[in-house]
Symmetry: C2
Subunit: 220 residues, 2 copies
Protein backbone atom coordinates (compact mmCIF):
# COMPACT_ATOMS: atom_id res chain seq x y z
CA UNK A 1 0.00 0.00 0.00
CA UNK A 2 2.66 2.57 0.73
CA UNK A 3 4.32 3.81 -2.43
CA UNK A 4 7.81 4.61 -3.58
CA UNK A 5 9.24 1.28 -2.56
CA UNK A 6 11.90 -0.82 -4.17
CA UNK A 7 10.85 -4.17 -5.58
CA UNK A 8 12.69 -5.89 -2.78
CA UNK A 9 10.85 -3.94 -0.12
CA UNK A 10 7.55 -4.74 -1.76
CA UNK A 11 8.37 -8.43 -1.72
CA UNK A 12 9.15 -8.32 1.97
CA UNK A 13 5.90 -6.54 2.73
CA UNK A 14 4.09 -9.18 0.73
CA UNK A 15 5.73 -11.81 2.90
CA UNK A 16 4.48 -10.00 5.97
CA UNK A 17 0.95 -11.05 5.14
CA UNK A 18 0.79 -14.40 6.88
CA UNK A 19 -2.47 -15.51 5.44
CA UNK A 20 -5.83 -14.52 4.16
CA UNK A 21 -8.91 -15.27 6.10
CA UNK A 22 -12.54 -15.39 5.07
CA UNK A 23 -15.17 -14.11 7.46
CA UNK A 24 -18.80 -15.08 6.99
CA UNK A 25 -21.46 -12.44 7.33
CA UNK A 26 -22.55 -12.03 10.91
CA UNK A 27 -19.45 -13.61 12.43
CA UNK A 28 -16.62 -11.84 14.22
CA UNK A 29 -13.06 -11.34 13.07
CA UNK A 30 -12.02 -10.69 16.67
CA UNK A 31 -13.75 -10.05 19.95
CA UNK A 32 -13.26 -8.01 23.07
CA UNK A 33 -10.92 -9.90 25.37
CA UNK A 34 -9.24 -12.03 22.71
CA UNK A 35 -5.49 -12.01 22.49
CA UNK A 36 -4.11 -9.51 20.01
CA UNK A 37 -1.72 -10.87 17.43
CA UNK A 38 -2.38 -9.19 14.12
CA UNK A 39 -3.75 -6.25 12.26
CA UNK A 40 -6.18 -6.97 9.48
CA UNK A 41 -6.38 -5.28 6.10
CA UNK A 42 -9.81 -5.64 4.59
CA UNK A 43 -9.66 -6.97 1.04
CA UNK A 44 -13.36 -7.35 0.43
CA UNK A 45 -16.49 -6.99 2.51
CA UNK A 46 -17.71 -4.63 5.16
CA UNK A 47 -17.26 -4.58 8.93
CA UNK A 48 -18.54 -2.80 11.98
CA UNK A 49 -16.54 -2.40 15.17
CA UNK A 50 -18.29 -1.99 18.49
CA UNK A 51 -17.46 -1.57 22.15
CA UNK A 52 -19.69 -2.70 24.98
CA UNK A 53 -20.24 -1.24 28.43
CA UNK A 54 -20.38 -3.63 31.34
CA UNK A 55 -24.16 -3.53 31.37
CA UNK A 56 -25.28 -4.77 27.97
CA UNK A 57 -25.30 -1.44 26.06
CA UNK A 58 -23.02 -1.21 23.10
CA UNK A 59 -21.75 1.45 20.77
CA UNK A 60 -20.75 1.00 17.15
CA UNK A 61 -17.42 2.80 16.82
CA UNK A 62 -17.09 2.58 13.07
CA UNK A 63 -17.85 0.92 9.76
CA UNK A 64 -14.87 -0.31 7.75
CA UNK A 65 -14.58 -1.21 4.09
CA UNK A 66 -12.01 -2.56 1.63
CA UNK A 67 -8.56 -1.09 2.04
CA UNK A 68 -9.01 -0.13 5.68
CA UNK A 69 -7.14 -1.64 8.59
CA UNK A 70 -8.71 -2.90 11.81
CA UNK A 71 -7.35 -4.26 15.05
CA UNK A 72 -5.35 -1.23 16.25
CA UNK A 73 -7.21 -1.26 19.56
CA UNK A 74 -5.41 -4.44 20.56
CA UNK A 75 -1.86 -3.09 20.57
CA UNK A 76 -1.91 -1.30 23.88
CA UNK A 77 -2.83 -4.23 26.14
CA UNK A 78 -2.16 -7.21 23.90
CA UNK A 79 -5.88 -7.89 23.98
CA UNK A 80 -8.66 -6.58 21.83
CA UNK A 81 -11.09 -4.19 23.47
CA UNK A 82 -13.77 -4.23 20.82
CA UNK A 83 -15.54 -6.63 18.48
CA UNK A 84 -15.18 -6.59 14.70
CA UNK A 85 -18.25 -8.07 13.00
CA UNK A 86 -18.56 -8.74 9.27
CA UNK A 87 -21.72 -7.16 7.84
CA UNK A 88 -21.24 -9.12 4.65
CA UNK A 89 -19.01 -12.01 3.65
CA UNK A 90 -15.50 -10.66 3.79
CA UNK A 91 -11.86 -11.45 3.26
CA UNK A 92 -8.95 -9.94 5.15
CA UNK A 93 -5.17 -10.08 5.06
CA UNK A 94 -3.79 -11.23 8.39
CA UNK A 95 -0.67 -9.22 9.26
CA UNK A 96 1.07 -10.44 12.44
CA UNK A 97 1.98 -7.35 14.41
CA UNK A 98 5.41 -8.50 15.52
CA UNK A 99 6.30 -8.96 11.87
CA UNK A 100 5.01 -5.48 11.14
CA UNK A 101 7.18 -4.04 13.88
CA UNK A 102 10.20 -6.00 12.72
CA UNK A 103 9.86 -4.97 9.13
CA UNK A 104 9.00 -1.36 9.85
CA UNK A 105 12.36 -1.02 11.58
CA UNK A 106 13.98 -1.65 8.26
CA UNK A 107 11.58 -0.18 5.76
CA UNK A 108 11.08 3.49 6.56
CA UNK A 109 8.09 3.84 4.29
CA UNK A 110 6.32 1.07 6.16
CA UNK A 111 7.09 2.61 9.52
CA UNK A 112 5.71 5.91 8.33
CA UNK A 113 2.68 4.15 6.91
CA UNK A 114 1.84 2.41 10.17
CA UNK A 115 2.11 5.66 12.08
CA UNK A 116 -0.17 7.39 9.63
CA UNK A 117 -2.79 4.68 9.81
CA UNK A 118 -2.95 5.01 13.58
CA UNK A 119 -2.99 8.79 13.47
CA UNK A 120 -5.72 8.71 10.84
CA UNK A 121 -7.86 6.60 13.13
CA UNK A 122 -7.37 9.08 15.97
CA UNK A 123 -8.40 11.96 13.72
CA UNK A 124 -11.41 10.03 12.44
CA UNK A 125 -12.54 9.45 15.99
CA UNK A 126 -12.21 13.15 16.74
CA UNK A 127 -14.72 13.71 13.99
CA UNK A 128 -17.09 11.16 15.46
CA UNK A 129 -16.78 12.82 18.86
CA UNK A 130 -17.69 16.15 17.31
CA UNK A 131 -20.70 14.51 15.70
CA UNK A 132 -21.85 12.77 18.87
CA UNK A 133 -21.18 15.73 21.10
CA UNK A 134 -22.64 18.61 19.18
CA UNK A 135 -24.83 17.65 16.24
CA UNK A 136 -28.57 17.16 15.97
CA UNK A 137 -30.13 14.10 14.39
CA UNK A 138 -30.37 15.52 10.87
CA UNK A 139 -26.79 16.71 10.91
CA UNK A 140 -25.57 13.35 12.14
CA UNK A 141 -27.33 11.39 9.45
CA UNK A 142 -26.32 13.82 6.71
CA UNK A 143 -22.69 13.66 7.85
CA UNK A 144 -22.88 9.88 7.91
CA UNK A 145 -24.30 9.62 4.39
CA UNK A 146 -21.79 12.06 2.93
CA UNK A 147 -18.92 10.22 4.59
CA UNK A 148 -20.08 6.84 3.34
CA UNK A 149 -20.69 7.94 -0.21
CA UNK A 150 -17.36 9.74 -0.33
CA UNK A 151 -15.48 6.64 0.78
CA UNK A 152 -17.40 4.49 -1.69
CA UNK A 153 -16.72 6.96 -4.48
CA UNK A 154 -12.99 6.79 -3.71
CA UNK A 155 -13.34 3.06 -4.40
CA UNK A 156 -14.94 3.58 -7.77
CA UNK A 157 -18.59 3.45 -6.80
CA UNK A 158 -21.29 5.98 -7.51
CA UNK A 159 -21.25 9.45 -5.97
CA UNK A 160 -24.96 9.40 -5.46
CA UNK A 161 -26.12 5.86 -4.96
CA UNK A 162 -25.30 3.43 -2.21
CA UNK A 163 -26.50 0.28 -0.54
CA UNK A 164 -26.35 0.33 3.22
CA UNK A 165 -24.76 -2.77 4.61
CA UNK A 166 -26.02 -2.12 8.13
CA UNK A 167 -29.42 -1.96 9.80
CA UNK A 168 -31.12 1.18 11.11
CA UNK A 169 -30.25 0.02 14.57
CA UNK A 170 -26.55 -0.18 13.74
CA UNK A 171 -26.63 3.26 12.13
CA UNK A 172 -28.38 4.54 15.22
CA UNK A 173 -25.84 3.01 17.53
CA UNK A 174 -23.03 4.62 15.59
CA UNK A 175 -24.73 8.02 15.50
CA UNK A 176 -25.96 7.98 19.08
CA UNK A 177 -29.61 7.80 18.01
CA UNK A 178 -32.42 5.28 18.34
CA UNK A 179 -33.38 3.31 15.26
CA UNK A 180 -36.76 5.06 15.10
CA UNK A 181 -35.05 8.42 14.94
CA UNK A 182 -32.83 7.22 12.10
CA UNK A 183 -35.88 5.99 10.23
CA UNK A 184 -37.81 9.19 10.78
CA UNK A 185 -34.86 11.29 9.68
CA UNK A 186 -34.49 9.27 6.48
CA UNK A 187 -38.20 9.84 5.84
CA UNK A 188 -37.85 13.57 6.41
CA UNK A 189 -34.95 13.75 3.95
CA UNK A 190 -37.05 11.82 1.46
CA UNK A 191 -40.04 14.16 1.94
CA UNK A 192 -37.77 17.12 1.29
CA UNK A 193 -36.52 15.53 -1.92
CA UNK A 194 -32.95 15.30 -0.68
CA UNK A 195 -32.68 11.52 -0.95
CA UNK A 196 -34.65 8.57 -2.21
CA UNK A 197 -34.75 5.73 0.27
CA UNK A 198 -35.99 2.24 -0.38
CA UNK A 199 -34.97 0.04 2.49
CA UNK A 200 -31.21 -0.11 2.28
CA UNK A 201 -30.96 1.46 -1.14
CA UNK A 202 -30.25 5.15 -0.92
CA UNK A 203 -30.00 7.64 -3.76
CA UNK A 204 -28.69 11.06 -2.93
CA UNK A 205 -30.69 13.46 -5.07
CA UNK A 206 -29.38 16.72 -3.66
CA UNK A 207 -25.86 16.55 -2.31
CA UNK A 208 -25.74 20.30 -1.74
CA UNK A 209 -28.76 20.16 0.54
CA UNK A 210 -27.05 17.48 2.60
CA UNK A 211 -23.93 19.60 2.87
CA UNK A 212 -26.05 22.56 3.94
CA UNK A 213 -27.52 20.47 6.72
CA UNK A 214 -24.07 19.46 7.94
CA UNK A 215 -22.70 22.96 7.68
CA UNK A 216 -25.60 25.34 8.33
CA UNK A 217 -25.22 27.90 5.60
CA UNK A 218 -22.30 30.17 6.44
CA UNK A 219 -23.88 33.39 7.66
CA UNK A 220 -22.11 36.13 5.73
Amino acid sequence: MPMGLTAEELDRIDDMVAARRKIKRGTTLFRNGEKFTSLYAIRTGFFKTRVASEDGRDQVTGFQMAGEVIGLDGIVNDHHTCDAVALEDAEVCVMPFDRIEELSREVNALQRHVHKIMSREIVREHGVMLLLGSMRAEERLATFLLNLVQRLHARGFSQSELVLRMTREEIGSFLGLKLETVSRTFSRFADEGIVEVKQRHVRIVNTEALKDIVNPKACN
Copy 2:
Protein backbone atom coordinates in the same frame (compact mmCIF):
# COMPACT_ATOMS: atom_id res chain seq x y z
CA MET B 1 9.30 6.31 30.09
CA PRO B 2 9.56 2.86 28.63
CA MET B 3 11.40 0.48 30.91
CA GLY B 4 13.95 -2.26 30.57
CA LEU B 5 16.40 -0.14 28.65
CA THR B 6 20.16 -0.08 28.71
CA ALA B 7 21.84 3.06 29.98
CA GLU B 8 22.94 3.85 26.46
CA GLU B 9 19.42 3.60 25.12
CA LEU B 10 18.15 5.86 27.86
CA ASP B 11 20.75 8.45 26.97
CA ARG B 12 19.71 8.41 23.38
CA ILE B 13 16.08 8.84 24.28
CA ASP B 14 17.05 11.75 26.48
CA ASP B 15 18.79 13.28 23.49
CA MET B 16 15.63 12.91 21.50
CA VAL B 17 14.03 15.62 23.58
CA ALA B 18 15.01 18.67 21.64
CA ALA B 19 13.86 21.20 24.17
CA ARG B 20 11.43 22.04 26.85
CA ARG B 21 8.80 24.60 26.32
CA LYS B 22 6.69 26.56 28.76
CA ILE B 23 3.09 27.28 27.90
CA LYS B 24 1.20 30.01 29.69
CA ARG B 25 -2.30 29.35 30.87
CA GLY B 26 -4.84 30.11 28.16
CA THR B 27 -2.38 29.90 25.29
CA THR B 28 -2.06 27.11 22.73
CA LEU B 29 0.71 24.58 22.35
CA PHE B 30 -0.40 23.96 18.78
CA ARG B 31 -3.38 24.82 16.65
CA ASN B 32 -5.48 23.29 13.93
CA GLY B 33 -3.72 23.88 10.61
CA GLU B 34 -0.21 24.35 12.00
CA LYS B 35 2.58 22.24 10.61
CA PHE B 36 3.23 19.10 12.60
CA THR B 37 6.80 18.55 13.72
CA SER B 38 6.78 17.09 17.20
CA LEU B 39 4.96 15.15 19.83
CA TYR B 40 4.78 16.74 23.27
CA ALA B 41 5.13 14.98 26.60
CA ILE B 42 3.49 16.98 29.36
CA ARG B 43 5.84 17.50 32.30
CA THR B 44 3.62 19.77 34.35
CA GLY B 45 0.30 21.46 33.83
CA PHE B 46 -3.00 20.55 32.31
CA PHE B 47 -4.29 20.75 28.74
CA LYS B 48 -7.46 20.40 26.78
CA THR B 49 -7.59 19.41 23.13
CA ARG B 50 -10.47 20.48 20.95
CA VAL B 51 -11.65 20.18 17.38
CA ALA B 52 -13.82 22.72 15.63
CA SER B 53 -16.48 22.28 12.99
CA GLU B 54 -16.50 24.70 10.09
CA ASP B 55 -19.27 26.71 11.67
CA GLY B 56 -17.95 27.89 15.02
CA ARG B 57 -19.01 24.92 17.19
CA ASP B 58 -16.23 23.08 18.91
CA GLN B 59 -15.82 19.88 20.83
CA VAL B 60 -13.33 19.21 23.59
CA THR B 61 -11.80 15.84 22.73
CA GLY B 62 -9.87 15.31 25.93
CA PHE B 63 -8.09 16.66 28.98
CA GLN B 64 -4.42 15.76 29.37
CA MET B 65 -2.18 15.87 32.39
CA ALA B 66 1.45 15.23 33.34
CA GLY B 67 2.97 12.19 31.71
CA GLU B 68 0.57 12.11 28.79
CA VAL B 69 1.52 12.73 25.17
CA ILE B 70 -0.27 15.07 22.79
CA GLY B 71 0.10 15.87 19.13
CA LEU B 72 -0.63 12.44 17.63
CA ASP B 73 -3.35 13.92 15.45
CA GLY B 74 -0.73 15.70 13.34
CA ILE B 75 1.08 12.65 12.04
CA VAL B 76 -1.33 11.64 9.32
CA ASN B 77 -1.34 14.85 7.29
CA ASP B 78 1.73 16.64 8.61
CA HIS B 79 -0.60 19.26 10.02
CA HIS B 80 -2.42 19.42 13.30
CA THR B 81 -6.18 19.01 13.15
CA CYS B 82 -6.98 20.16 16.66
CA ASP B 83 -5.93 22.79 19.19
CA ALA B 84 -4.10 22.06 22.41
CA VAL B 85 -4.78 24.73 25.04
CA ALA B 86 -3.08 24.97 28.41
CA LEU B 87 -5.62 25.20 31.24
CA GLU B 88 -2.83 26.13 33.64
CA ASP B 89 0.77 27.15 33.21
CA ALA B 90 2.49 24.12 31.78
CA GLU B 91 5.77 22.71 30.63
CA VAL B 92 6.24 20.12 27.91
CA CYS B 93 9.08 18.14 26.37
CA VAL B 94 9.29 18.77 22.64
CA MET B 95 10.08 15.53 20.83
CA PRO B 96 10.67 15.99 17.08
CA PHE B 97 8.79 13.22 15.36
CA ASP B 98 11.42 12.41 12.77
CA ARG B 99 13.87 11.81 15.61
CA ILE B 100 11.33 9.55 17.29
CA GLU B 101 10.95 7.54 14.10
CA GLU B 102 14.69 7.35 13.61
CA LEU B 103 15.38 6.21 17.11
CA SER B 104 12.48 3.81 17.32
CA ARG B 105 13.98 1.91 14.39
CA GLU B 106 16.91 1.10 16.59
CA VAL B 107 15.41 0.85 20.05
CA ASN B 108 12.69 -1.78 20.03
CA ALA B 109 11.28 -0.73 23.37
CA LEU B 110 10.76 2.78 22.08
CA GLN B 111 9.06 1.53 18.94
CA ARG B 112 6.75 -0.58 21.03
CA HIS B 113 6.11 2.34 23.36
CA VAL B 114 5.11 4.67 20.54
CA HIS B 115 2.71 2.10 19.16
CA LYS B 116 1.14 1.60 22.55
CA ILE B 117 0.66 5.32 23.12
CA MET B 118 -1.21 5.62 19.85
CA SER B 119 -3.28 2.52 20.48
CA ARG B 120 -4.11 3.72 23.99
CA GLU B 121 -5.43 6.95 22.54
CA ILE B 122 -7.64 5.02 20.11
CA VAL B 123 -9.03 2.91 22.95
CA ARG B 124 -9.59 5.98 25.12
CA GLU B 125 -11.58 7.58 22.33
CA HIS B 126 -13.70 4.44 22.00
CA GLY B 127 -14.66 5.00 25.62
CA VAL B 128 -15.59 8.59 24.94
CA MET B 129 -17.70 7.51 21.99
CA LEU B 130 -19.54 5.07 24.23
CA LEU B 131 -20.13 7.86 26.70
CA LEU B 132 -21.32 10.37 24.10
CA GLY B 133 -23.41 7.86 22.22
CA SER B 134 -25.25 6.05 24.95
CA MET B 135 -25.07 7.65 28.38
CA ARG B 136 -27.36 10.09 30.13
CA ALA B 137 -26.12 13.25 31.79
CA GLU B 138 -25.60 11.75 35.25
CA GLU B 139 -23.70 8.79 33.87
CA ARG B 140 -21.50 11.05 31.78
CA LEU B 141 -20.54 13.27 34.67
CA ALA B 142 -20.00 10.33 37.03
CA THR B 143 -17.79 8.61 34.46
CA PHE B 144 -15.86 11.82 33.98
CA LEU B 145 -15.25 12.33 37.69
CA LEU B 146 -14.19 8.74 38.27
CA ASN B 147 -11.81 8.88 35.33
CA LEU B 148 -10.24 12.15 36.47
CA VAL B 149 -9.78 11.09 40.07
CA GLN B 150 -8.34 7.76 39.01
CA ARG B 151 -5.74 9.43 36.81
CA LEU B 152 -4.88 11.92 39.53
CA HIS B 153 -4.59 9.13 42.08
CA ALA B 154 -2.14 7.32 39.79
CA ARG B 155 -0.03 10.48 40.05
CA GLY B 156 -0.06 10.48 43.82
CA PHE B 157 -3.02 12.75 44.47
CA SER B 158 -6.06 12.04 46.58
CA GLN B 159 -8.59 9.39 45.66
CA SER B 160 -11.46 11.54 46.76
CA GLU B 161 -10.55 15.15 46.32
CA LEU B 162 -9.77 17.08 43.19
CA VAL B 163 -9.60 20.56 41.76
CA LEU B 164 -11.11 20.96 38.35
CA ARG B 165 -8.83 22.83 36.01
CA MET B 166 -11.58 23.45 33.48
CA THR B 167 -14.81 25.44 33.40
CA ARG B 168 -18.32 23.98 33.40
CA GLU B 169 -18.53 24.90 29.77
CA GLU B 170 -15.40 22.90 28.93
CA ILE B 171 -16.68 19.92 30.88
CA GLY B 172 -19.95 20.25 29.03
CA SER B 173 -18.25 20.42 25.66
CA PHE B 174 -16.30 17.26 26.45
CA LEU B 175 -19.37 15.41 27.71
CA GLY B 176 -21.74 16.61 25.01
CA LEU B 177 -23.81 18.63 27.48
CA LYS B 178 -24.56 22.33 28.03
CA LEU B 179 -22.86 24.04 30.93
CA GLU B 180 -26.16 24.48 32.75
CA THR B 181 -26.73 20.74 32.63
CA VAL B 182 -23.28 20.11 34.07
CA SER B 183 -23.98 22.55 36.87
CA ARG B 184 -27.37 21.06 37.63
CA THR B 185 -25.98 17.56 37.65
CA PHE B 186 -23.25 18.57 40.08
CA SER B 187 -25.95 20.07 42.30
CA ARG B 188 -28.01 16.89 42.13
CA PHE B 189 -24.99 14.79 43.13
CA ALA B 190 -24.39 17.19 46.01
CA ASP B 191 -28.03 16.98 47.14
CA GLU B 192 -27.77 13.21 47.17
CA GLY B 193 -24.65 13.39 49.29
CA ILE B 194 -22.48 11.77 46.64
CA VAL B 195 -20.06 14.68 46.27
CA GLU B 196 -19.33 18.03 47.84
CA VAL B 197 -18.88 20.75 45.26
CA LYS B 198 -17.57 24.22 45.87
CA GLN B 199 -16.86 25.83 42.55
CA ARG B 200 -13.95 23.88 41.15
CA HIS B 201 -13.18 21.98 44.33
CA VAL B 202 -14.81 18.56 44.35
CA ARG B 203 -14.79 16.01 47.13
CA ILE B 204 -16.11 12.60 46.29
CA VAL B 205 -17.96 11.43 49.38
CA ASN B 206 -19.43 8.21 48.01
CA THR B 207 -17.39 6.58 45.29
CA GLU B 208 -19.62 3.52 45.23
CA ALA B 209 -22.66 5.61 44.44
CA LEU B 210 -20.81 7.16 41.51
CA LYS B 211 -19.86 3.73 40.23
CA ASP B 212 -23.47 2.62 40.56
CA ILE B 213 -24.55 5.52 38.41
CA VAL B 214 -22.02 4.60 35.73
CA ASN B 215 -22.85 0.94 35.85
CA PRO B 216 -26.52 0.70 36.78
CA LYS B 217 -26.60 -1.99 39.44
CA ALA B 218 -26.13 -5.35 37.74
CA CYS B 219 -29.64 -6.83 37.66
CA ASN B 220 -29.26 -10.33 39.06
